[in-house]
Symmetry: D2
Subunit: 403 residues, 4 copies
C-alpha cells in the first residue's frame, strides 16, 4: 500500500463508514476527514453526525448541503432527457452519486488530502459511480475502497471491530434491508426481496402508504411547467427542491411511485430493488404530459432515444463525460419550449395527467377534427401517402413484372 497522508471519506454515519474511519487510520496510518453530503436523506440521518464522525476518529467533519443543487443541476437535466432505466427505475441513487463524489473531491482538494474513500460494496454500482467521478475530476488522488480490501464481511465483524476500539455505535446486529435515501427516492434491497418469486411485503416500503391504505378519494394537483421544469404547484411558485418535497408528501400519501424490479447492474449481475419515488413519479408524468402537446413526432422520438441513452449513462456513473454532456445539451435544446400546465390526479398508487395545456401546443382542435381549415387540405393526404409508400409500390411492381 502506497503512503497516504490524509484521506477524505464519504461518510454516512452508518455502521460501515463508522468502521472505515479507524480501519483507514490503522491500515493507512493517515488522517481521516469525514465528508457528509446532505442530499435530502432526512434530518434523522444527519443528527449528531459530526460528533459521531469525530468519536470514530475523524480529524474533521464537513457537511455539505447539496439538496438544492442536486435537484436543479443533476435531477432536472436528467429529467429533460426522460431517462428511466430499463423502463422502470427513476435513477434515484444513480443521480445522487456524482454530486456527492464531486463535492467530496472539492473537499479533498480544499483540505489538501491525497486520497478519497467510499464505503460502497464491491458488487454494486455505487463504487463505479464514485470512482468514475473521481477519475474524471481528480485522477491524481488515490482511491481506497475498503469493501474490496478488508475481511470485515459481516455486520457482526464490523460491530466487533468497533467494540474492540471502544467506538460507540448504535447500529443493531440485525439489519434486514439495505436502504438508500435522498430527496428524490428511497431504495430497499435485500431480505425477502432476494427471492424474485416472493412478493415485496409491508416492510419493503418506507415512504409510501400501500395503495390499499391510500385515501378513497382522488386528489388533484396542478403543476406549472417551464422549459422542462416544474416551477409551481397549485399556482404557487417554488424552487425545484421545494416542489419535489411537497410532491413527495402528496404522492406518498396516495401510494404513488412504488416500483419493484429486477435490474441489470453495471457490473454484470442482476439485483432486485424496491424503489419509492413519489414526487419524482408525479414530476415525470407532468413533463411527459406537456411534451405530448409541444414536441413534434420526430422530436418526441429523439427525446425518447436520448432518455434511453441517458438512463444507461446515469445509471453507469458516466455523468462527468463528454458523451453525457452532449446528450444533456441535446435534451436541453428540446426542452426549451416544454412549457405549460397540467392537472394530475393522485389515486391509489397512480399519478395520471387528466388535463393539460400549453401556449406552445401543436395540438389544435381546429386542425385535428373534421372540417376544412387553413393548414390542411384533405387532398394533400393522397399525395402524401402516394410518396410515403412509393418504394413499397415500386418494389412490388418490379417483382410482379419479373414473375
Amino acid at each position: 500500500m502506497s503512503k497516504v497522508n490524509k484521506v477524505v471519506l464519504a461518510y454516512s454515519g452508518g455502521l460501515d463508514t463508522s468502521a472505515i474511519i479507524p480501519w483507514l487510520k490503522e491500515n493507512y496510518d493517515c488522517e481521516v476527514v469525514a465528508f457528509v453530503a446532505d442530499v435530502g436523506q432526512g434530518e434523522q440521518e444527519l443528527e449528531g453526525i459530526e460528533q459521531k464522525a469525530l468519536a470514530s476518529g475523524a480529524s474533521q467533519c464537513f457537511i455539505a448541503d447539496l439538496k438544492h443543487e442536486m435537484v436543479a443541476d443533476y435531477i432536472y437535466p436528467s429529467l429533460k432527457t426522460g431517462a428511466v432505466y430499463e423502463g422502470k427505475y427513476l435513477l434515484g441513487t444513480s443521480m445522487a452519486r456524482p454530486i456527492i463524489a464531486k463535492a467530496q473531491v472539492e473537499c479533498a482538494l480544499e483540505v489538501g488530502a491525497d486520497a478519497l474513500c467510499h464505503g460502497c460494496t464491491g458488487k454494486g454500482n455505487d463504487q463505479v459511480r464514485f470512482e468514475s467521478t473521481f477519475s474524471a475530476l481528480a485522477p491524481q488522488l488515490k482511491v481506497i475502497a475498503p469493501w474490496r480490501e478488508w475481511d470485515l464481511t459481516s455486520r457482526e465483524a464490523l460491530l466487533d471491530y468497533l467494540a474492540a476500539r471502544d467506538i460507540p455505535c448504535t447500529a443493531s446486529l440485525e439489519k434486514i434491508y439495505s436502504r438508500d435515501a435522498n430527496a428524490w427516492h428511497v431504495s430497499t434491497e435485500g431480505g425477502v426481496l432476494e427471492d424474485t418469486w416472493t412478493a415485496a411485503n409491508q416492510d419493503c416500503w418506507v415512504w409510501t402508504v400501500a395503495p390499499e391504505e391510500a385515501p378513497n378519494t382522488p386528489e388533484f394537483v396542478t403543476l406549472g411547467v417551464q422549459s422542462g421544469e416544474v416551477v409551481s404547484v397549485d399556482g404557487e411558485s417554488m424552487s425545484p427542491y421545494d416542489v419535489l418535497t411537497l410532491l413527495n408528501d402528496k404522492g406518498a400519501a396516495h401510494g404513488v411511485g412504488r416500483i419493484d424490479i429486477v435490474e441489470n447492474r453495471l457490473v454484470g449481475m442482476k439485483s432486485r430493488g424496491c424503489y419509492e419515488t413519489p414526487g419524482g413519479t408525479i414530476i415525470m408524468e407532468a413533463l411527459r404530459g406537456v411534451e405530448q402537446l409541444v414536441l413534434d413526432k420526430e422530436s418526441y422520438q429523439f427525446r425518447e432515444e436520448l432518455g434511453l441513452k441517458a438512463s444507461h449513462l446515469i445509471y453507469d456513473g458516466r455523468w462527468f463525460t463528454p458523451l453525457c454532456q452532449s446528450i444533456v445539451a441535446a435534451a436541453n435544446s428540446l426542452a426549451a419550449p416544454v412549457t405549460g400546465e397540467v392537472v394530475i390526479k393522485l389515486y391509489k398508487g397512480q399519478a395520471t395527467v387528466v388535463q393539460k395545456r400549453s401556449t406552445n401546443s401543436l395540438y389544435s382542435e381546429d386542425f385535428a377534427t373534421f372540417g376544412d381549415d387553413d393548414v390542411y387540405d384533405h387532398s394533400h393526404a393522397e399525395g402524401f401517402i402516394r410518396l410515403y409508400s412509393l418504394s413499397s409500390r415500386i418494389r412490388t411492381l418490379n417483382k410482379q413484372k419479373q414473375s
Copy 2:
C-alpha cells in the same frame, strides 16, 4: 376518374361505409363487394352485417375471422419488440389495420376486383395504414378513398344521402365520440376530448370500470410466458387470443389499461385519444417482468431501442416493409429465451408484477449479495472500474499536465 369494374370495400356496417356502397356505384359505376374483417370488435357490430351490406347495394359480402391470426401474427411480434407509441399508446388500432388491409387485398384478388376502397377520413392515420398495405401487396389495384373525394362531410349529409336512396340505416344523427374496437383495445376520440384542458369523463370510457368503482380487494393472476408470449393463465394453457380475451375481462373489472393522451399523428397534426387496453396492459407488464430476469443489460437496451423504432413503424402503417421485418427478426431473436412465470396484481387501475421467475433467469441470489461466490471476486471490480474510467482519467491527467 378512371374506369373501375369491381371494388372491394373494407366494410364496417357503420354509417360511413354504408353510404360508401351506393356512392361508389353511382360515382364509379361499378360492382361493390363488401369485406368485413372480424378482428374482435364484438358480436354486436357483426350481427346482421351481411344483410346490411346487401341492403346497401353490395353484390356480395365476405366476413373473414382474423381474430386469432391478428393476436398470433401481428400483436405478439409487436409485443416482442416492446413497441409503445410515444411512451403510452399500445397501438391497438395501428396493429389491426395491416391485417385487415391484407385480407381485403386477398379478397379483391380472389373476386377479381380492380379497386380497393376504405372509409377512413382524410386527416387520420388509418388511410395511410390501409394504403401503405395496399401499395406493398397490390400496387396494381386502384385505391378509392371517398372521404378525400366526396362532399358528404357531416353525419346529417350521410343520413340524408341514404334516406334519399331508401337504404335502411339505424345510425343516429348525434354521435359524439369516434370509436374503434378490436380484440386488443377500444379507442375513443372527439367530444369533450377535443379540449386538452378538459378531463375525460365517464362517457369516454367503454370497456373498463373507473378505478374508483373497481373492487377494493386486489386480484392476483399467474401468467405463464414462453418465448415472449403468454401461453397460460392461472395454470391453464390457452391460445393467444383466448389469453387476451380472458385478461381483457379481468383487467376491465379492475379499471386496468386506461390511457388518455395527445399523440402525434403521422400526417403532421396532433390528436387526443382515450384508449382502453386492459388485457394488453397486463400482457405487456408480464413480458417486461420476465425480460427483467432474462435479458442482459445490452440486450435489454437494444430491445428498448427496437420497441421505440417499431412503435413508429407500426403506428405509421409500415408493417409490410423490409425494415419492419428486420426489426421483428431482431426482436424475435431476443425473445427466444423470454420464458417464465409472473404473478400480477390487479387493483384500482393498476397491473403490477409482484412475483416472477424463469429457468433462464440471470438473477441469482448467490451472485447478487454479499459473500464470495464462484463467478465474482470483489477484487475484479477495481480492475473493471479502472479500465472503465480510463479515458476520463487520461483526459484529466492530460489537462492537468498542460495547465
Copy 3:
C-alpha cells in the same frame, strides 16, 4: 388560384427560372421579384444576372452574398455531426437549400411579398427542402411551384415560351446533364448516368481532374483544426470560406472528392448522381483525423449516430426543426475539444491523413505500449474482463446446471 400580389422567386438565371418570371405574371397577375443567392456557384453564373432577371420581366432583382454564412453557419455545424448521406454523399445541395430559402423569405418579408416561388421539379428533393424552410419560417406566405402546375415539361417548350414573348435567352436546346453548384460541391445528374450499368464518363465530371490525369507526385497539406473547424492551411489562418475554396483547388487538381452513387430521394424514388466535393472531402478527412485522437469510444460512437441522423435530417430539408437544432447542439458539445493538426496527402483521387496531433489527444505512446505506467496495471484487465463477460458466464453456467 388565390390572388397573389407580389412573389419572390428564387432565381438562378437558368432557363427554368427565366421562364417562370413571365409565367408567374401571366398566371398569377402579380409582380415578380427575383432573388439570387450567391452560395459560391461561380461568377460565370452570376454575371449579368440582374439584367437578365429584369429583361425577363422581374420588377426587381436582389443578389445576396451568402457564401461565408453558408460555410460558417450551415456547413460546419453539419460537419461536426459527421453527416454523410447513405455512406457517401456529402450533402452539398442539401446544405445550401435552407440558407437560400431563409434569405429568400427575408427578402419576401422586406419587400412585402405575399408569395414565394421556386423552380424545383416535382420529383426531386429540393422542392421539399425549399418548402419545409418556408413552412418553418413564413407559413403565412403562399408557395408557388410552377413545375407542379404548368405543362411546359420540356426544354423545347420552355424555349418556345420565352421566344414567343421575345425574352432573350442563351440557353441551348440540348442540355444533357442537370447540374447544381455551390462553394461546397457540384452535382451532375441525367444523361448517361440514368442507366446505373453505364459508367460515368468524362462529361459527368466538372471540377475535378480524373485520378488518371492527376499529378504523379503526392501533395501534402497541413490543416489546423479548432473545435471542429479547419482554421488554417499550411500554417496560414483563414476564414472558413477561404479554407474551402483553397482546398477545392488543391483537391480538384488531384482528382479528390468524386462520388458516383444511387441514392434514395426523400420522395420515395431513387436517383443517380455524380458529386464532386474536393475541398469538403479533405476537410471531413481532417476532422475525422483529429476526432480519432480526441474522442473517447462512447463519444465517437455517439458522434457517428448523430451524423447518421443528421444526414437524413439535412438531406430531407429538416434544418429548421427542433430536432435538427437538438442534434446540432449535441454535436457542438462533442466538437469543442476537437482541436489539433493533421497532414493530408493528396494523390490520384485520395485524401488521406498521414500525420495528426492534438493537445487534447487521449492517445499516449506511454499508455498504449508495453511496460508499466501510472494509469494502467495489467492486472486490472482480468477484473475488467471478468465483469464485462459476467452475464455470459452466468447464462451458460445456468444452462449447464439445468442440463
Copy 4:
C-alpha cells in the same frame, strides 16, 4: 494458483506462445496442448508448427483449418451489418478471435482439458475477445493469461527464457512491429507508428504495394452478389474464401485497402494501427453498391445503424451474445434481396463501383426522371410536402398568433 491438469493453448508458433508452453508446465505443473487455428495467416506461419510446438514441450498439437468457416460464418454475417469500426477499421483481427477461441474451446472439451490459455497482452483487445468467448462457451474452464502474470516483459527476457531451457527458437531479438494476419487482413502496430505525428513508412505495409507503385492503368473486376455475399468474380462462381483470396491479390496489386488510424481500444486507451484489407475493401464496396439499388431509405438507414452497433460488438469481442445474434438476424433479413452485379475499378489505392445493376433494384430510369409515369404524379408532391412540414407550419403559425 488453483490446480490445473491440462491446458489448451492458442498457439501461433511465435516467440510469446513458444515461451508460454514451458512457462505453463513449470508454473502450473500441467500438460500443455497446443492449438493452432489456420485462419489464413499464411503457409509460412504454419510450416513446421507442429514440430515447433512439440519441441517447446507441448504434449500434442492440433491444427484446425477454419479459413472457409471464418469467411462464411463470421465475416459475411458481419459484412451484412456493414460494420466498420470508428468509420475506418474493417475489423480483421476482431472477427477472427471468436472463431479461434470457439475452436480452441471445442478442442479443450475434446481432450478433456480444464484450462484455456492465450498469449494476448494485458493492454489489448484480444484478451477480452478470447476470454469473452471462453465465458460464453465454457465458463467452467479456468483461463490463464501469462502476460498478466509473468515478469517476462521483453523479447530479450523471452529469448533468454527459451535458451535457458534449450528450446530452439528462430525469433530475432529485434522486432519492430507487432503484426496479426488472417485471410481478411494484416495489421501492423508499434515502431514508428507510436508517434501519431510520424507518417507510416514503407515498412509499415506488408501485403499491398504503395499506390505510387501500383499500375498506371486501372483494372476492372465484375462481382456477382447474392443476398449480401459475393459469389462470383468476373463471371466465375467461387466459394466465399476463394473470392476473398482472389480479391486480396487483385486489390493488393493496386494498393487498395490501406488504413492508418488511431482507434479506441475497449480497455480505455487509444492505439494506432495500419491495416491492409485489400479484398475486404473491394467486397464491402461491392455490397454497398448493390445496397444502393435495393434498399429503401429507411432500410438503408437502419442497416447503417446496425453496422454502427455491430462494429462495437465485434470489436469488443461480443460475438457470442444474444445482442449480437439479434443484430445479425436483423441484418440478415435486410440482406436477403441484396442481389446484383457490380463492376469495380481498381486504381492507385482505390476501389470504386463504376457500374451496378440488380433485378431487385428500386431505381428506375422511368420513375426518376422527367415525364409522367404510372407511379408518380407531380401533384402528389404538394400534398406530401404539406403534411411533411405540417408541424413546422403549425408551430410558427401559433407563435405568430401569440406575438
